[in-house]
């Protein structure tokens, strides 16, 4: 449901794989589990609209801030060693 006009239909699918975006919020989390701590994540605004809280990847410490430009990469999200199962999702990488 569109939060502004209430529309429930008429949406079209858009690929964001090649989109770029801007970091709106971020942190470096040292409490949560991450194989390569700290876990960098935050809110990304896509150019042209839309927003997602997501993991950051390929971060050089001190180089990530509000306003940093990013693009998107399909990466391993976690590995289940018992079942040998890998889960993937999109992550944002600073440009």
């Amino acid at each position: 449901v569109n939060a502004h006009c209430g529309a429930r239909a008429g949406f079209s699918e858009r690929s964001l794989a090649d989109a770029r975006g801007t970091v709106r919020t971020w942190t470096a989390d040292r409490l949560t589990f991450d194989p390569d701590p700290p876990a960098y994540f935050g809110t990304v605004d896509f150019d042209g609209g839309g927003r997602l809280m997501m993991d950051f990847v390929d971060v050089e410490p001190g180089r990530l801030d509000v306003g940093t430009r990013v693009d998107f990469h399909f990466r391993i999200k976690d590995i289940d060693p018992q079942r040998n199962f890998r889960r993937y999702f999109w992550k944002a990488a600073p440009l």
């Binding site: 939060a3 989390d29 409490l31």
Partner: protein, 398 residues
């Protein structure tokens, strides 16, 4: 406030109880519930049989009491009462009270109980236990911790107001130093040691810029209230405490998925506060409130909440905090009982613990931390993360 006539002054709190919060290794959840309830019942001067309905709040059922209303009914051996269990993340405690208050305001019953309980230290983990967010969200959410969600508020707040990171961090430290000083005065508080600015500023980083002393811990504890129609309250005691308003606002996903929200404020806090001020007849909160108990899960949350509640002007909370406006001897003291930071945070009980302090303060029964003649007290109870949450604001007075 739209539609109905609201609940202002229709319900009185006639009794309250709160267990000691902390690492209660020797106490079961049932023991904690009984501890809070016995104090509450004695305070009200009522018999258990006079209670007609109950609301039970617990947030993380998998980790402590288990699902449904049964754990409360069993712990207190309630006489087969209608008991409802509520869960609304960290706002659960206020949600339980809201259920009881609405039942009395509606005339469905004369006397109702609200009790919140959580037992988290047995998990053996310092923060909130890692838990599934469901099969859908876990597919794409970052593997975030609670401090990781609220830390993002700091980055956006600092950017929105063009503030220096060091100033924001100093204000955050001041907030925690203040809460530790207040908590040291409270015999029921989990953490009772004072800390210094240096300790707060130099503590290990948890999630940038939240350090160890910027984060509340979790605790074991229970808190409860018995609410009743005003006529019953008058027959029981003279100094009753009245509910002026309880409002909640729940995120609809707009902050989370649209770019309009700047991430530097909590939308739901602003809306819940606006509704509560309207219902309670408050136009200038900084002048009219004498105390706030806010959801200081992290010091940055408390900082931003001062603006969201209208107690500080936009971008001015850092200065107000550093000037001591919300210290025990400030303009509007905040967390006089130590807050989540030091009283502790047993999730389902926290909203009712805030109400408990408001209740004691309004009756002049808060001991060494008693403020001078407070008339209106606000509690603010927030569950979730800045972009997606439940906010409950309650206002209590004479």
């Amino acid at each position: 406030v739209t539609g109905g006539k609201g609940i202002r002054d229709k319900v009185a709190i006639v009794g309250m109880g709160c267990s000691k919060f902390g690492e209660r290794w020797q106490a079961s959840p049932a023991d904690l519930m009984v501890e809070a309830f016995e104090e509450c019942l004695a305070d009200a001067g009522l018999e258990k049989q006079q209670i007609e309905a109950a609301w039970f709040g617990s947030a993380l059922d998998g980790f402590n009491v288990g699902p449904s209303a049964i754990p409360l009914a069993v712990a207190l051996r309630l006489p087969y009462l209608p008991v409802t269990r509520v869960e609304n993340m960290c706002a659960t405690g206020t949600e339980a009270l809201r259920g009881a208050v609405h039942a009395v305001a509606a005339g469905a019953c004369d006397i109702a109980l609200a009790l919140g309980c959580e037992k988290l230290k047995d998990t053996g983990y310092g923060g909130l236990p890692q838990r599934t967010r469901g099969v859908h969200n876990d597919m794409f959410y970052p593997n975030l911790s609670a401090p990781g969600t609220f830390a993002q508020l700091a980055s956006a707040y600092q950017t929105a107001h063009r503030l220096d990171a060091a100033d924001v961090k100093r204000a955050m430290a001041h907030i925690s130093v203040k809460s530790h000083a207040n908590g040291a005065q409270n015999p029921k508080a989990h953490l009772r040691r004072k800390i210094t600015m240096e300790q707060a500023l130099n503590a290990p980083m948890i999630a940038d810029p939240i350090g160890l002393f910027d984060a509340c811990g979790v605790s074991d504890g229970a808190a409860c209230a018995i609410v009743a129609r005003p006529e019953i309250a008058r027959s029981l005691r003279k100094a009753s405490v009245f509910v002026k308003s309880i409002q909640i606002a729940v995120s609809n996903g707009a902050e989370y998925s649209h770019s309009a929200w700047n991430g530097a404020e909590i939308v739901t806090t602003r809306l819940a506060a606006q509704r509560a001020y309207e219902e309670a007849g408050i136009s200038n909160p900084r002048r009219e409130l004498q105390l706030t108990e806010v959801h200081d899960c992290f010091s940055i949350t408390e900082l931003v909440t001062m603006e969201d509640l209208g107690l500080s002007s936009p971008g001015e909370a850092v200065r107000d905090v550093l000037d001591g406006a919300f210290d025990a001897d400030g303009v509007v003291p905040c967390q006089i009982d130590g807050g989540l930071k030091c009283f502790g945070h047993p999730i389902g009980a926290s909203g009712l613990r805030m109400i408990y302090e408001a209740y004691l303060q309004l009756q002049g029964r808060a001991g060494s931390r008693q403020l001078r003649d407070p008339q209106l007290v606000l509690t603010h109870n927030l569950g979730g993360m800045p972009a997606l949450n439940v906010c409950a604001v309650a206002i209590l007075g004479h």
